[in-house]
Subunit: 590 residues, 2 copies
């Protein structure tokens, strides 16, 4: 009847708060209730709970069906269920309707206690923080002391972030998808136009429309506009292009001549049947007013007590409502604060909506992340890491072995271009290093998450400026400098943000390369430089002598060095620029 | 009183068409009138006229002031006047209000002939083409047979494009700024939401509101929304950020708490005082329905008769309403059709509005373009070109001299990375070549425009796929292959779009380089490769032997060759891979 990986039939429950609920604005809600659903089974020590938080127009019904006849499952059914990203065979998943909503939780359309009328505009203004506080009451009520994770997209992501700021002791981790710590000016503007459409609707009647004609025209316009911002230019072009609406009559000339117009019209109509205009006004204002950096002076300050929370921040490449740059601001602040953060950018054409659509990518990423959060440390040392079983293991790449030896115990290490995270994992496991990675390849980023490395997806040519001076004890750059667009800048940046740098590079001055150049007159191909000239990523080749020259020019001191020749490691050696295949230096900057 | 480079006091004139005006939809306007202004003096042979076309909400008042008390000049005053981009000391500039407008030209608010009431929704639907036809009547009336140029931004750009399609014999050139041949699905969607706000306003009353309360709420919402799309994310962030509106009262909680909200509110109010809602409905529909490729089967077909028109297409980097990709579609079609097109992307953070703000860049570009259009050919051979005075001139770079010799008379040549256009100019001037350039550096693009080269701003790593197979007789790639990200792809592409390729490159196999490598053990620096390893743009170095190898691999035939050694040219030579500094090959592809 339902798919086998569905949670099946579920029901929305109501929790009535036993005492008044106090809001950030100073006012009280005498009687507050929360609508929520749960999926899966809470284990005995109540340690397997996950809180899922919905976006602006969502509700508590995140997964499953309300009846046998129900044709549409909950809004995030693709992610919640047996074997899914939020695996209900393992986890107990909770989702509640937000404060001020119109789907069961107390909001402007609820009866005002002591009267027979809805609150309407008497409802107190509330904040994202208030929404989180109300969720906390529910979690307390369920007897859960610590959540495995809280997760949300868009406005849900703001709340997931706020959990990390406000209740760090009550969560192991938080997953923030397509969201930000505050709305941009442009996003404020879109919300303002949507609200104006409602306020201008004569049926709005200063909020007093319950039991009368509702301001449906205004609410529909707000929703139509919202839908444009949830899609990308490309996805609209693919989905609708300039296709005409075949059913349009001449009467529809100004309104629904094109399919994209019919789509928006349909979305508007669908929305007014299920949503309350006053809830829309209040909730968009809660989003507009959320501003974590302003509240704490800076985003870094906001994270002052979040040191034990693991953050997963995910953005969408084509999202222009919550652009990736806003996710990166959170990542930057978390890294500055020395917190455990992983960042992943989903490559998608679907725009902001992709957080509901890119199920495969999100599932892979979140499963890896949750394995790390909920698993014991030993679970992580899988086959992937077997190379790292012993530091002296002969299977370890000789360059890894050298770098391993150069880094002292317990230090904080950033690996630039960390690949699958093996080197960092080795250092974390056997030397108690706090390791962080930057990696550009999304597949490698997921591998890092799987082996438990906090990794930020990024390009080292452009992303290092985000880090403060001397943030790390060591910055490692192994066999990557020659592949950067601007090697001088990268070298300067790594020695600015790290107290020491460890750099490994293929030596273009090796005698075999020189002789090949001399006698063949072709770009040499070797074990350390295996690609053809027109395919190589090694776009800035250099010799050991070149490297020493630039260090001298920049005032960089070389503290230690190793040379690798035919997989053997030498600390000294005659004519290293002639004989080394690879050089590894420990550097100190300015 | 007024600035010295102002056109001073001007007045809007009215031209009443002597006969009915027929529209694309088949209906007639019995009496049509056009509001227009003119600046400068029409010369005796009426050969110095320029038509300026306004955007959606503009009018005929493009420059100067209407009275001594007038504080605000016309909408494009920064560009029109003595010494300005459209120099009224040289040119006679005409600007008219568009068909269906509400600023003097006949529109839905005009009295319907034979009645005492405005047309309202009885006004026939009209098109961008109709707007252009009406302008043509005005130009005819002024006795102008051929315009130096027509120019417009946004909706004005659509009309400038349509002039190039519909009346190519009546214009020397057209300047299309921040526009496109059709609106994207996203732009259609924004227009639809704006119109919906008007249609939903009870005061709209199916268009019948003249003399009554106007649908000002709806029109204001449409305008607010429009303004968001005219700005960029960055410019809104800089201009407003999340600044609060200090004058806001608690009453304004839902509407104008933030400065960006006050700004939009102000723009809405300002607009309803001067614009007619029905005009807004009709004009946005004219934009929505404009679709040059659909009308002609393809954009290339649309340009079938435009071979003598010089096109200047300009986009704005941060424009997301008319994104640069849409400008590039026009450019691609014009190049496929072998027409004379120049493309320039303005680097600006101002979004779509930049076409009204980036005065300096536009002035420089347009002055150069108009110099080329209106000047005699001899005016162009300025000092810039003196190197090209004679093909055998000793001042000519030896590589230019070789390439000059390799290209046959009268052929069609594309120069990839054409720099300041010298080589193309030389070929055009002395060999009757039809020359086209691609250049990434904006300053060089302007120089090309100044010396009369049709040039497209673009990156050869990504922009060649836009050209059809065998579009050019020769594609030249001189000293650039080694600086591309993907040399193999660029090589394949140049031989796909060109019947022959002419390629020049520095030979990394030269004996001086080899010996430097051998003895110095440092990346060699030479006259042809003068940059340090960490600064060089030459990221894919190769030797002549490497190049011959890749030609063999790709099945490319080498038809002719020259070697340059110490500025001397050799056709043959012993060990060219050892001795040449530069190699120049004529290639033929697949």
């Amino acid at each position: 009847m339902f798919p086998s990986n569905s949670v099946g039939i579920v029901e929305t429950k109501i929790y009535n708060l036993p005492e008044p609920f106090s809001l950030e604005c100073g006012r009280l809600l005498e009687q507050a209730q929360i609508a929520y659903e749960t999926y899966g089974v809470l284990n005995d020590d109540k340690s397997n709970a996950i809180l899922v938080i919905h976006a602006l127009s969502g509700d508590a019904h995140a997964a499953g069906y309300h009846s046998d006849q129900d044709r549409k499952p909950g809004w995030w059914d693709s992610m919640i269920g047996p074997g899914k990203a939020f695996d209900t065979d393992k986890f107990y998943v909770v989702c509640s309707n937000c404060l001020g909503g119109c789907m069961g939780t107390t909001g402007p359309g609820s009866l005002k206690p002591g009267t027979n009328a809805p609150y309407s505009l008497d409802f107190p203004p509330f904040s994202i923080t208030d929404m989180v506080d109300l969720q906390k009451r529910l979690i307390d009520r369920l007897g859960i002391e610590k959540l495995v994770t809280v997760v949300g997209g868009s406005m849900g992501g703001m709340q997931a972030l706020e959990w990390g700021i406000r209740y760090p002791q009550n969560i192991c981790s938080t997953i923030i998808i397509a969201s930000s710590a505050y709305l941009s000016s442009q996003a404020l503007a879109f919300d303002a136009v949507g609200r104006n459409a409602i306020l201008s609707d004569p049926n709005w009647n200063r909020g007093d429309y319950y039991g009368k004609t509702t301001p449906s025209s205004g609410l529909a316009i707000a929703r139509m506009l919202g839908h444009i911002t949830y899609l990308s230019l490309e996805s609209m072009e693919k989905k609708f292009g300039r296709e005409k609406n075949k059913d349009a009559s001449p009467e529809d000339y100004f309104s629904t001549q094109y399919q994209v117009e019919s789509y928006l019209d349909y979305q508007g109509r669908k929305f007014i049947a299920r949503f309350d205009a006053n809830s829309y006004l209040y909730i968009t204002k809660a989003m507009d007013n959320y501003d974590a950096p302003a509240r704490f002076g800076s985003l870094e300050n906001a994270f002052k007590h979040s040191e034990n929370v693991k953050f997963l921040v995910t953005s969408i490449s084509s999202d222009w409502l919550f652009p990736p740059s806003q996710s990166l601001e959170m990542v930057k602040a978390l890294r500055s604060a020395n917190h455990d953060v992983t960042y992943f950018q989903i490559q998608s054409q679907y725009g902001h909506d992709a957080f509901l659509l890119e199920t495969d990518t999100l599932t892979r990423l979140i499963k890896a992340f949750l394995k790390r959060i909920s698993g014991k440390e030993s679970d992580i040392s899988t086959q992937e890491i077997s190379l790292a079983a012993l530091p002296s293991n002969v299977l370890i790449r000789s360059d890894y072995s050298v770098i391993y030896g150069m880094i002292k115990k317990g230090k904080k290490v950033l690996d630039l271009g960390c690949g699958d995270g093996r080197l960092l994992r080795l250092l974390m496991e056997h030397k108690g290093v706090r390791g962080y990675g930057i990696e550009i390849n999304p597949d490698m980023v997921v591998k890092c998450v799987e082996v438990g490395i906090p990794v930020v997806q990024g390009d080292i040519d452009t992303s290092l400026s985000e880090y403060a001076d001397k943030t790390f004890d060591y910055v490692v750059l192994n066999q990557t400098l020659q592949a950067t667009d601007n090697p001088e800048k990268v070298l300067k940046e790594m020695l600015r943000i790290g107290k020491k740098g460890v750099i490994g590079f293929p030596n273009f001055g090796n005698w075999k390369i020189r002789l090949k150049m001399l006698f063949n007159g072709a770009m040499p191909i070797s074990e350390t430089l295996p690609d053809k000239w027109y395919e190589t990523r090694n776009i800035h080749l250099f010799t050991m002598r070149d490297f020493r020259d630039i260090c001298r020019k920049l005032g960089v001191r070389i503290l230690d060095r190793r040379y690798i020749r035919d997989h053997h490691i030498f600390q000294n050696g005659l004519f290293p620029n002639l004989t080394s295949d690879l050089c590894i230096f420990v550097l100190e900057g300015f």
